[in-house]
C-alpha cells in the first residue's frame, strides 16, 4: 500500500513561530503537493514539487515556503505563523505524466496558531 505520512496530526503553535510540517511518501512518487483545507473553500494548493529541489507555487503560496531535499520528503514551512494560517494541511503524492494516477493523501495536520 502507498503510504503518505504527515509528521503530526494536531499541532498548536504561537503567533510568530517558525513551523515545519513534514510529509514522507514511500512509493517513489515524483510529484508531491501541499494543500490547505478550509470549510467552504475546499482544497487550495499551496506548493507542489515535481522533483528533488524543484518547487512551484500554487494558488496561495504567501506566507509559506517548501523544501524537498530528498525525493520521499516534502516539507512545508510557515516562516512566521499567523492566526489566519490556522487550518487543516494535507500532503499528497502522485506519479507524473499521464494524469491517470490518483493522488495519495496523508492523514492531515490540524494546525492551530494562537
Amino acid at each position: 500500500d502507498v503510504k503518505v505520512t504527515q509528521s503530526s496530526r494536531y499541532l498548536v503553535k504561537r503567533t510568530g513561530e517558525k513551523v515545519f510540517l513534514e510529509c514522507v511518501q514511500d512509493m517513489d512518487h515524483e510529484n508531491m503537493f501541499w494543500y490547505r483545507q478550509d470549510p467552504g473553500l475546499g482544497l487550495r494548493l499551496i506548493y507542489f514539487s515535481y522533483d528533488v529541489k524543484m518547487k512551484e507555487k500554487g494558488d496561495i503560496p504567501e506566507g509559506y515556503s517548501v523544501s524537498r531535499e530528498k525525493k520521499e520528503r516534502f516539507s512545508l514551512i510557515l516562516e512566521s505563523a499567523s492566526t489566519n494560517q490556522t487550518s487543516m494541511y494535507l500532503c499528497a503524492s502522485s506519479t507524473p505524466g499521464t494524469g491517470n494516477t490518483e493522488a495519495f493523501f496523508g492523514q492531515g495536520t490540524r494546525l492551530t496558531v494562537v
Binding site: N31, F33, Y35, G40, L41, G42, L43, L45, F48, Y50, E56, G58, M88, L90, A92, S94, P96, G97, T98, G99, N100, E102, A103, F105, Q107, G108
Partner: protein
C-alpha cells in the same frame, strides 16, 4: 486555467437511497482525467472513481458510477444503495493528461447518510 465547481455544499439522504453529486468543470484542453475523492470524518482522503476524458463509457466501481458529459463539461457521481459508511466529504478533481500539472479540486460536497 482549469476550474472545478461543486454546486451542492451539503446533502442528506436516507440509507439505501440513491444520491447524485454534481460537478462541472471548465477547460480548453481535450486530454484530461477526472476523479472523485472521498474524505470520511477520519480525514484520510481516498479515491472513489476516475474517468478518462477520451473514453465515452462511464466509469463504474461497485455502487459508485459517474455520468460523464464531455460536451457539457459535467461529471456527476451516483451512489446507489447508499450506506452509513458513505458519509463523508466528496471532492471532484481534474488533472491534465501527459502534463506535469497540479490537480484542481472543487470545494466539496458534505454528504450525510441518515439511518
Amino acid at each position: 486555467a482549469q476550474t472545478v465547481t461543486q454546486s451542492q455544499p451539503e446533502m442528506s439522504v436516507q440509507e439505501a437511497e440513491t444520491v447524485t453529486l454534481s460537478c462541472t468543470y471548465d477547460t480548453s484542453e481535450s486530454n484530461y482525467y477526472l476523479f472523485w475523492y472521498k474524505q470520511p470524518p477520519s480525514r484520510q482522503m481516498i479515491l472513489v472513481i476516475r474517468q478518462e476524458a477520451y473514453k465515452q463509457q462511464n466509469a463504474t466501481e461497485n455502487r459508485f458510477s459517474v455520468n460523464f458529459q464531455k460536451a457539457a463539461k459535467s461529471f456527476s457521481l451516483k451512489i446507489s444503495d447508499s450506506q452509513l459508511g458513505d458519509t463523508a466529504m466528496y471532492f471532484c478533481a481534474f488533472h491534465l493528461r501527459n502534463r506535469d500539472d497540479k490537480i484542481i479540486f472543487g470545494k466539496g460536497t458534505r454528504l450525510h447518510i441518515l439511518p
